[in-house]
Amino acid sequence: MTTPTEVENPRSEPAAAADFFAVNSIADASVSTGSATTKVLGWLTLAGLVVLLVFAFIISPEDSRETADGAIIGQFDAVRLLYLHVPAAVFAYVAFALTGLGSIIYLWKRSRWWDHVAHSSAEIGVVFCGVTLLTGVIWGRPVWNTWWEWGDVRIVTTLLLFLIFVGYLAFRSVPSEPRRQARNASVLAIIGALNIPVVNRSVEWWENRTLHQQSTLEELKIEDATLLTLMIGFAVFGLMFLWLLIHRFRVAWLAEEVEQHGLKQALRRRREEAQREAMVS
């Protein structure tokens, strides 16, 4: 990752309190979470998105092939939705895996840095997961002739994963003691991440049939343009994920800064109060 890696455990430096107050020049503060790196990243993402759209709608062919008995089958134009659906799904899973990883490291090292990574990643994961479900439903209608298929393992697993992390975010949105929240949220995230394989297995055993492409790449009768478009999709979503993660992380970091600032002021006020009282008596 880029710049924010320099920041290690912002909580563990109460000693810097004094000069922080001396500066206190909030008026000329910056007004965004952007930096040179993220600007480049952002433009690259947007440019990539345009390229992706061009490839998805114009260059890549529609999915159709002839079976042995002469019928023409395939997803036809609907395949173009997969260039959004598949990368979003993959990076939703990546995001949740990162949340699980960040939570484990948080419990181990107790550095708020990793807690912010976990929280940020979960939020992005929920957005991507929502997009996955939405496009999946829209794609299923023309191709499977049904909006939703309970017999399908991946779609059910993904919905559950979505709900688990919606719950995680709901937990995090309730204001409470910050360290306890971070600790308990980490536990929730780890359980949630561990649930993925369990849910997946159980849904698969549940109904031993599945509509889903066993492996999307295999089924898509890999034509060069199709594969290339999918790869572009992965690249664009990778950049997008990184951009979102960095910005969201900085939001979390700023929120903690504000909290720390409030804490230091509260501490100062409280000490003044103590001194005043001592003077009186």
Binding site: R271, Q275, A278
Partner: protein
Amino acid sequence: MGFAKLAFLAMELAVSLRSLVVLLGSFPALSGVDLDIQSGEIVYVRGANGAGKTTLLRFCAGLLNFYSGEGQVLGFDIRDANSDTRQMWRTQVGYLGHETRLYPDLTAQENLAFLAKLCRAEMAALQYGVERLELSQELLATRVGSLSAGQRRRVALAGVVLRSPKLWLLDEPHASLDSRGRSCVDQLIVDAAKAGATLLVVTHEPVAHELLEAVPADLSVGESAASGSATAGSEAAGSASGGSAIACAPGSSRLVELSGGAVKGNR
């Protein structure tokens, strides 16, 4: 001399805190406490609402983590995050908070028996608690939910007594007690200190002079340790630990004022 003083510091201080900051959420309930309490001492803590009295007690009970500072309680370094150490620390304190921590659906007897089992106290200790708090058989057989506030308080205190704690942390033990209950508690406090326990008692009422002087006053009543507010923390720390290394008699008592989450020396 140096050795004697060191030994004194190691052996005799039941509680020793330096610049202790404790957060509740992101509010600094304790903003820098410097406090030394010797074994066998009774320290009354007074202060306005929100001064941090309850937080100080809960911290000393090992129930809260701190933000910055250092020190020890009953010989346990407060920086030691090991959960076993923490557990041992907690088992040696007797903490009475605002809540009575009793189950309203159980009788007083059942509540006390459960508490005794949780901390593995012996039946004799339970019996001692029952006697000291003058709990009648009839009261013991009553559901806690239908006891009066004062009676519940006495049951809760018996629950503290049965732990035979080394450090007593009592949050307004007089609350909702009648005069007989109060004198009962006062006597309990003095006796516990004489038996070698250390007591930290939060009170809103003016502490009666006869209480503070119930013990030989010639042995450093009040001026042993607590001094310095938080902002002067560093210099106060030196004087507080070094200044008055006079052993106090078991049962000697003093008053400490808490305001703005910091202790200031009194008398």
